[in-house]
Amino acid sequence: MALASGPRPAPIVHDVGRSAPAPLLEVRDLRTQFWTKQGWLTAVNDVSFTLQAGRVLGVLGESGSGKSAMLRTILGIQPRSARVAGRAVLNGVDLLALSEHERENMRGSQVSMVFQDPMTALDPVFTVGQQLIETIRRHHDMSKREAAARALEVLTLVQIPSPERRLQAYPFELSGGMRQRVVIAMALVSNPSLLLADEPTTALDVTVQARVLDLLSALRHELGMGIVFVTHDLAVAAQIADDIAVMYAGRIVEQGTVAEIVRSPRHPYTRGLLEANVRPGQRERPEAIAGAPPNLALLPPGCAFAPRCREAEETCWESLPDFRTVTARHHARCLHVDASRVNVEAVDAEEVA
């Protein structure tokens, strides 16, 4: 992953290097707005990032920060009433410029999504096999029998025990972890090059969560997929991701490699997130970020985090800071990037994970 360019003027373009392969996914100035009684609400606000094939980008943020809306917009399943702008270029094709018909062809074949709650993501009145076979046949010219064989293959791939029997099962006959494996299997039927994961482990027990994370890591290496992994859980992001983008109020406020974000967070919001995390052996109460996330329909002109920020100064309220470079891959949308107020007791990546 490389960078997020700030909006004009003179984006702080990070040089990916000429030798770097063409990115798998390049999202530029993505913006999603919903109509509400208070006017247009900007759920995703000029989000830009790049994802290389085989890498995992963890998108971290609290609920309402626009993480899910961003994934849905990339996939094209945002509510019809939403207003969308920007580009999302997958393998050289701008998904947002495609016709609805063409996007349907891309969904589930080149780009797939894994949903948060496996209890409700599957259609309850069709068997696992029916749902898998229908997905396979939607994208491949196969007989039912061939599709069933492929369904068996993907169920084996996601390590479901006795997959033949699961094909006949209805979702309600499976446990939560099993269902999430089925959901993942369904996303993988066409070997997508990009997987969008929307908090895929949040609804699961901790032990099941760890196993699903291991599975996704393994699959990513095995199939060479790029993954955008949305979560509110720093530990989960640190475990699975190569890079992390922190979202706040619809914008990416900081991004960098996992180590950079975890060891030397530069945005006060990121620091707040880290401090809110309980580390093993920690005695004192974790410190929550004071205040509440802003109303996305009534965003202030400046930094959206300013009202909650201990370091905010007048400029922060007035104009939105551009991205500032910390290291080649580490950027934060904060005036105080260089202020060396880096947490001395910086959380160790290993500790968090």
């Binding site: 409700t120 259609d123 009145v125």
Partner: protein, 314 residues
């Protein structure tokens, strides 16, 4: 599945017994004299007692009930002194006529209601949705007998397009037969259309909000494929109300059958109540109760075939 059916049929027996007891009790409290219509004006008390004992009316209620029940179990519903026919024969003819009317009304009303409700649910807040929703409210609030009378005035009295009532025999030709059905079917299925459309719309709208719909779209399914999934998930409440609707229609609409002089169960029971023809009322009620029990069973079986989770509940 067979086990479920057997168990449900077993459970139906007490239901039917209860219905028969209730209807006996209600009819016995009902004011009015079942003999009044049978006796001449100047009948003496002795005549009256003789007739009462002929009909078994002098025996106490529980005894009469038990002996009636014994006859019914053997398939004998008794004899109607008013109509001078066996009750089973009366019900047999009326039932066939009502079944024709109810069948056509149900097919017409349910298909139109489901189609309109689906269109309204899929294209929510569109003009089509508003038309359907508006029609459904009107259909539910306007009494069917009023519609029946308006139809009569317009199509029969004014335009002279349709016969005012009665039922044609198939020997008179299919056209004539169908012509007699038009108005009773429209007036009788109005409520069915309205209820079915509303329930279908609500259920489709709700199902479209389910998480799995996002997933279906994320898999790249075409919109019509998504609709297939939504439809199968949304059908449960539609089946439940449809079962009730068909039940009401098969029970025979007293109002519609009386207005259009359709010789069905509704008219039969209406006349029987007016004349205190107790045996006919009791038998008809029992038949309607049986119809409801069977329909509910059919609906439950359909529910399970659409939604396997309900196997546990059944």
């Amino acid at each position: 599945m067979l086990l479920i059916i057997a168990r449900r049929l077993g459970m139906a027996v007490p239901t039917l017994l209860g219905v028969s007891v209730l209807i006996w009790l209600l009819l016995s409290i009902l004011p009015g004299d079942p003999l009044a219509f049978l006796l001449p004006q100047d009948a003496s008390p002795a005549d009256r007692e003789r007739l009462a004992s002929e009909m078994g009316l002098d025996r106490p209620l529980p005894v009469r009930y038990v002996s009636w029940l014994g006859d019914v179990v053997r398939g004998d519903f008794g004899y109607s002194p008013f109509r001078r026919r066996d009750v089973s024969e009366l019900i047999g003819t009326a039932w066939k006529n009502t079944a024709v009317l109810a069948g056509v009304s149900a097919a017409f009303g349910l298909s139109l209601g489901i189609a309109a409700g689906t269109a309204a649910g899929v294209y929510r807040n569109s003009i089509a949705d508003r038309v359907v929703t508006g029609f459904a409210i009107v259909g539910l609030s306007v009494p069917s007998f009023w519609v029946a009378i308006v139809l009569l005035i317009v199509f029969s009295a004014q335009l002279k397009l349709l016969p005012a009532g009665g039922m044609a025999d198939l020997s008179e030709g299919f056209g004539e037969y169908a012509k007699h059905l038009v108005m009773p079917v429209i007036a009788g299925s109005l409520i069915t259309i309205a209820i079915t459309a509303r329930v279908t719309r609500a259920s489709i709208v709700e199902t479209f909000q389910a998480d799995f719909v996002d997933m279906l779209r994320a898999k790249g399914l075409r919109e019509w494929q998504v609709l297939m999934h939504v439809g199968k998930n949304a059908i449960s409440p539609v089946l439940t109300t449809s079962g009730l609707q068909v039940g009401y229609l098969l029970g025979g609409s007293v109002l519609i059958e009386t207005i259009y002089s359709w010789p069905g169960l509704g008219q039969l029971v209406f006349n029987a109540i007016t004349a205190r023809d107790l045996l006919v009322v009791q038998a008809t009620t029992l038949v309607i109760a049986v119809i409801f029990v069977l329909l509910n069973l059919a609906v439950d079986i359909l529910q399970v075939t659409f939604d396997p989770r309900q196997k546990r509940a059944a």
